[in-house]
Amino acid sequence: MNTQRIGAIFEKDIKDFMKNMMLLMMPIVPIILALIYSRLGEGEELPIPMLYLIVGVTFSSVTASCMMTMMAEENEKKTLRGLMLSPASFMDIIIGKSLVVGLMTFIALAISLFFAGVKPFLSVQAIIGLILLFLFFLFLGIGIGLFTKSVASTSAYLMPVMFLFGFTPMIEFFGLGEDSIAITIADLFPIMQLIKMHDTNSWVPIGVVAIWTIGAALFTYICFKKERTDD
């Protein structure tokens, strides 16, 4: 790892991000959602699941989506090759990009929660939860970005990530019974665990989310091994 090279990748990717309309639209999505929800709430505090829906949308449409789009574009345009032939290591490249995505996520999340209500997140536990959740989506984005060869194909992978992990709280609107299997499984999903955390103050949900994050890291590692070691 080399900070100068990470800095160079970061600088390049920030400039590129600012000129890419498709990427620039992404952080707008959760902000608009937050604005709409807060209007609907008519000044009252939004319920926790609603807030986490905004968080989920931010992490899936900014973190995961931007990461996989940026990586897929490097693959598609063959610019990744130039980076790989340079002294920059693959780690430098990924970290440089992650910093850009992290910055954009932070901005989008801060603005969204400013409108929707930031208070419930102002505790160490909630912040740790958000960081783990961010890493979870970041790893998914990197992993998928490793094997997608074109920007167009990323949306096929983004949709399941978004609906499964970003919109999980929406499952309540499906009118399934409390004890249906779908609900039981969905309850174990990272966002549902974080919602539960706010009711109980227990650290168990954080542990469950940490396991999800480790799982996502493993997924990324497997994708890396598969994509980077054969000719």
Binding site: K12, K15, D16, K77, K78, T79, L85, P87
Partner: protein, 282 residues
Amino acid sequence: MENAIKVTGLRKVFDQHAAIEDISFSVKPGEIFGLLGPSGSGKTTTIKILTGELGQTAGDVYVLDINAPLFGTADFKSRIGILSDNSSLYERLTVYDNLKLFCKLYDAPLEQIEVMLDEVNLKEARSKVVSKLSKGMKQRVLLAKALIHKPELVFLDEPTSALDPGNAAHIHRGLQKLNEAGTTIFITTHDMEEATELCDRVAFLDKGKIQELGSPDELRYKYSTHAFHVETFDDERLVIENEAGNADKIRDLIANGEVKSIQSDNPTLGQIFLKVTGKELV
């Protein structure tokens, strides 16, 4: 360092098809070495193996005295420069920003950007967005990118294929200057004139093997029929063998004022290639 590149018994198989059967050659430090061959003969594959982008199936590869398995290190990568056949640039960024990225990745001083822009004749285009450049201009930015960190050894995969003759000549002069300053150059090309003009030695690659190797002059002599082609003012064309017994014949022709032109029969590299491989280079 005795050899900048040393390859022995190199073989590369892609899904049971051998792109490179068995090749051996070496390149001396300070040399311009040309690898010539028709499309699909394995030129790009060879460069990819020499730069560590692909592993070989068999054979020994040393570049700058470093063995192939160690090509992944930052040290090795910063000693070589690469212009590959489908390198590309960040289309939304300016020429300057593209070069700045690689300047920083290779830990070269930022002044090198101006030096290289001048070298490839692109000073005015520095603030242009890459997507607005012509193909030839992009190629020149890529060349600047490949040379920005002053590598000891550069690999150029068809560097002038997208350029018009004026720009190609400009690049040729630049490469000669670079070579005079001590840089070793490994170049692949389809262009026989380019090879004749630039290369100290060339290798003809075909059917996965090196079919011929030598300096352009050596090869032209080797494949010469050693005859003189004489054209007289009577529009007669004579072919006179380069033999002692023919000296008087030529002397008489000249003495009688009959000779309009006289040429030795040294084939061009293109003709030699055709003879050796039975293929035109296109």
